[in-house]
Symmetry: D2
Amino acid sequence: MKIGVLTGGGDAPGLNIAVYTFVKLAERKHEVYAIYHGWRGLLNKEVKRVSSRDLLDFAFSGGTYIRTSRTNPFKDEERARLLESNVKELGLDVVVAIGGDDTLGAAGEAQRRGILDAVGIPKTIDNDVYGTDYTIGFDSAVNAAIEATESFKTTLISHERIGVVEVMGREAGWIALFTGLSTMADAVLIPERPASWDSVAKRVKEAYNERRWALVVVSEGIKEYGGPKDEYGHSRLGGVGNELAEYIERSTGIEARAVVLGHTIRGVPPTAFDRILAVRYATAAYEAVENGRYGVMVAYSNGDIAYVPIVDVVGKNRLVSGYWMRLYETYWPDLAG
Amino acid sequence: MKIGVLTGGGDAPGLNIAVYTFVKLAERKHEVYAIYHGWRGLLNKEVKRVSSRDLLDFAFSGGTYIRTSRTNPFKDEERARLLESNVKELGLDVVVAIGGDDTLGAAGEAQRRGILDAVGIPKTIDNDVYGTDYTIGFDSAVNAAIEATESFKTTLISHERIGVVEVMGREAGWIALFTGLSTMADAVLIPERPASWDSVAKRVKEAYNERRWALVVVSEGIKEYGGPKDEYGHSRLGGVGNELAEYIERSTGIEARAVVLGHTIRGVPPTAFDRILAVRYATAAYEAVENGRYGVMVAYSNGDIAYVPIVDVVGKNRLVSGYWMRLYETYWPDLAG
Amino acid sequence: MKIGVLTGGGDAPGLNIAVYTFVKLAERKHEVYAIYHGWRGLLNKEVKRVSSRDLLDFAFSGGTYIRTSRTNPFKDEERARLLESNVKELGLDVVVAIGGDDTLGAAGEAQRRGILDAVGIPKTIDNDVYGTDYTIGFDSAVNAAIEATESFKTTLISHERIGVVEVMGREAGWIALFTGLSTMADAVLIPERPASWDSVAKRVKEAYNERRWALVVVSEGIKEYGGPKDEYGHSRLGGVGNELAEYIERSTGIEARAVVLGHTIRGVPPTAFDRILAVRYATAAYEAVENGRYGVMVAYSNGDIAYVPIVDVVGKNRLVSGYWMRLYETYWPDLAG
Amino acid sequence: MKIGVLTGGGDAPGLNIAVYTFVKLAERKHEVYAIYHGWRGLLNKEVKRVSSRDLLDFAFSGGTYIRTSRTNPFKDEERARLLESNVKELGLDVVVAIGGDDTLGAAGEAQRRGILDAVGIPKTIDNDVYGTDYTIGFDSAVNAAIEATESFKTTLISHERIGVVEVMGREAGWIALFTGLSTMADAVLIPERPASWDSVAKRVKEAYNERRWALVVVSEGIKEYGGPKDEYGHSRLGGVGNELAEYIERSTGIEARAVVLGHTIRGVPPTAFDRILAVRYATAAYEAVENGRYGVMVAYSNGDIAYVPIVDVVGKNRLVSGYWMRLYETYWPDLAG
């Protein structure tokens, strides 16, 4: 068979090892092609046969060596037709699409239309892909966020300030929750659970009074924030953190500072967890191909690798709820106001 | 209630956050005591009331702030009686014991004899505690092993050598397997799966011929190694790695070097995974106490927190098998000889 | 003698080891006192006798364990009189002041007025203290900036973008220059050398055309930037980076992104260079005290430890010039116009 | 001109940036060739024209992308003649040799014989090249040694043990001295200053009694150690550390452990200091070529870049002495016995 591999959407640590591992397995029996720049590579025929040896030098680095884009191949029918004719011309039998909701959505649509057979692998540092407990990149981003937060803490302690760490997360508060639990922050604000900023200020003031510093972690996308939004209606990274710090400073009379953890936490080298997850997903994706099991996304569910139909996961977000929300409430019970 | 907390056995990253978090929850309603130096602290009455505030400064560091020991309080009946009378005198109702097989075994025995009510939390960088998928410290150790292996690789590439990384793991090959998968090593040797050194040499020679370097990861405790053993019949860390490197060098004619990853990978700051696991375990341990659920170890099973009777887990090792062994065989099918 | 030690101004990695080492030497013969919160601690009598043992637990962490403030004890004559009477009451003979221009300036003034005998140690991540080649904290901050920049680069490469890294440096471009040289950035903008943004855009476009990504490093305080200023007339961190990225995007038609490296790079653990520098400075400060050599700042000059009169260094900035400016021009010759 | 670049001897962090930067400057006017595997590459004609673009992907990684060897091209006259004829055939005008004593020695000899014009750049993690204060790789190795030592310390504290860290350094104690100062170890043993092991044990016992842990740093090559030597008469890494730990354990009755920091600390990514040093050296080497200044090694002397005749530096080691020995004695005055 001729199998193509692509990565789409925002880059994430672990993508390279997923691609490398898949190629290492698949090349034993099949021709494997790198599709460059995500779905755009199929519209532009940026496709090249690769061996695992070609990919080895960058297999363990952050980012994605085969590049990425946010191009939607089904934006209009013209594009869709171009996609179809290119796939035919290139003779691709299967495409393994590694990405978040948009990238996987295109894979599902291509499968539905019969353009190609698709297997999806979930990736996003936000960990909000529906149908799986973990996505490639999340653990690495959280580790980077923790390291930055620990550094920030030493300057908070030295200057006796309150600190606000703003992290990514427009719909889902996973990065904020995991960073907050990992550093036992005094308050954590996530999109799934509106908080009263007054209660937050009260809570951090108590903590400050006890030890002369305090720490808040906030998701960029918390719903009670009425600040400027981008074209998709999302808060923009860098908006809410500073505003929350200013609010806290005004309301407590204690000096407060914010840091925004953006691009620098997404480009780090992959952690053990993301490497292992990438290897497991790539192995499972290869087994799906071998078994002719198409239209599915590999997933992590109840501690195990599973397959879920792509159509069941696209267009939704996995949000903090259930066990994780109870954990949230165990540590920050009093922020709702 | 009066609740004591102790850590026993080898130290591991994440212990401090487990202790800190448990105290943070329990102090809301109970008196909490740190028992210093593991079970030895109950024999010597090294017990002190603590608040989470006392523990905060070291909560996120590696090691264990309340110290540890390998003392077995049931080594003889005299000790057991001393333990019992001290527990009575101190008025401790419950002890939360964080440790590996030995530490948990003592907790189970104390419960069985009615000396105290015990809740166990599994910890060991080797990840070989029976009854749980993950133990506190494993993820941190693997991340440290990966970082050291990546550094070692650059010198292998520069000098065009074969490298052997020896990691901890006397009965179970978890660290070797995870390090090997994470770096896509050319060969991985684990205690659960004897390998022919001849096949290993052949395999790495092929890899070397392709790219002028090759990498092997080996557990200290592989069974086919007949070298010197310690008092417990275990191979000693630092034995097998060098010998395997010499074997490979002799048999392939290619320069080979070994590194041994020992104490330096166990003292690192805890990773996100270990922090979250520690928080989850501490929370679950506290809930067990609240619900009067004693004689149990908190565990990670099928992606979820669970409780298992301590008596069911002690005296056994969780070994690489099932899914993980199939993953092993997918990447290193040809080493058995 | 009774010797006090204080740290003032922004915290920096290596402060704790300077304090610890000084105390370790001085306590052999003298009474040593920690003055908390910089000069404010003398106004408020926040002074406590300490031993090196008291300081050991935090000696190798970032930040400053004895806390810091920006309080100027000579803001008015009332404060100055309070300072004088407190010093007399506390019986302090000598104060070792570790800080940047403001903190050292106060030390010089106290010496001039005969309030106390002072020895200064230069500290600031910006490396702009006059009279010394290196200040405590600079090397750590640069290492952290490089690590963040390398992470940023992987996402630039993956998405094929131009990246702008904004770093601290209001008057002096040291962090930008060292970060730029260390990553061989395509353009570096520093306050000492106005650059035409047009030329910068042209230069990065050439680099982009060759390899589909490009990197710019910019100091927050570049003079050609007319954006919002703070109360001291300085550009605010986070202003220029985004604006430069937008300018480049508009003028080249290539997607550009900015990151701002602020508080997170100042709280990191100290590097080898900063640890050694702190030990050397602390040793030299102690020798100054032993020799009754007061009113001086220890310095690093021509590879050696030296003493310079505090009055000769305050009120000035050490700027990029001479050899370092020639190095700048060797790599970025064409940005001026 | 046709200019060749080679790296010889043990790999070190920063080599790639030195090569990259030199090529970046030299390619503006000249043809530049990578000579692979050190001097061996001239005997085997493993020489390829390169551009900085070719080298960019690995410019900031540890190790040496153009590979290395320990081949001495003047081992016998046959080799020397082969070297001469190959250089003539390849038409190389100048060779920039980056290495330690052996590699630089060959450069000096080739210059003396008129085979080629040579410029040397000093490199070795041991920092013992005569005629320069710093060599490429030293700062990175020390930082890695410090990080490993800090990790080791947490396990020493947790288990209440004495720890011995053995680091590289056969003739010179630079890594041990810098690691010891940076961590304020209780005892540091270096080849330049014989120590009585009895005094060492006494000293660490005092420290242990105060805080229940203690730390010793030792160079592999200390002269009072009579253990097994390699073919060159050097102690072997991994010999002395364990023996010293056993000695201390026997003589103090306190549990002691050793770690050996070998290959893993030499392959790390280059630090800021090594990156900047590599850029400065490469720039200076290029200026030497431009000015026809041959037979020299670029050096770091009194804080400045300098040129020294290669013949003046080969066959000697830069040892700890003068200021640095006084610093040693300030902190560890009582170890000579």
